[in-house]
Symmetry: C2
Subunit: 118 residues, 2 copies
Amino acid sequence: MPVFRDNGKNALKKLRKDLRSGFYSFLVLSILEREGDLHGYAIRKGLEILSEGKLVPSEGTLYDLLKSLRKYGLVEDFQTEVGGRFRRYYRITDSGRKVLAELKNEVQWLMETLGKVL
Amino acid sequence: MPVFRDNGKNALKKLRKDLRSGFYSFLVLSILEREGDLHGYAIRKGLEILSEGKLVPSEGTLYDLLKSLRKYGLVEDFQTEVGGRFRRYYRITDSGRKVLAELKNEVQWLMETLGKVL
DNA sequence: TCCTATACATCGGACTTCGATGTATGTTCG
DNA sequence: CGAACATACATCGAAGTCCGATGTATAGGA
């Protein structure tokens, strides 16, 4: 039993994580729509600025996430050489834009509903 | 490959789910704080009313969730007999109240940050 | 020279969510 | 009367997510 007499510290950390991680896909799509094509590292940097360092997936998570978004056809990726070095850029697709628009409504609704709970 | 030429429908469903499920623990704690002791089924009913049927975990999820909250000491459960029938009630603990208070701040902050993104 | 930042990617482990399945009793309605 | 639905509990397997560790490589600054 690793978690015993937790006094809420681990629990809080975990629940905070749960709250935040649900928005990762939404945020990645948002930043790609807003800033244009970016590579993985730049996406993370962008999210750091956007959220004051708080809504940023780990690197492992981000690459899994991008893979998943690609699988669903919401982003596409292409490789380029920048200064002789390989870079993989991501671009939001038309399908991605549509999904993002719906997600914005969802987030809006969520905010209203949570406002009632608070 | 089950997901191919998705055109965004499955993706949207999945991303919506991700957005919502992060709030389940928060909502369960909220409803227990607000309504007092409840059993599993009543928690689900309560969330249905609170969220117009939209922020409601499946039964399987709810029982897993309650188990997890219990493990962290955020809720405690006790068995009662109501009309000759077994019922398991859940109650938020002091630790749970403290964590919930912090989560409320978190949600508040999240709403503000997302407001900027929208 | 060493550390940090940039940049990519994979892997295992822990955990979550869902839907299916199973067990019961109570109520309602045709 | 009998079927269907609501109430109520719980478990299981499958799929997926997130993290942190690990690994590779270059550039630039202290």
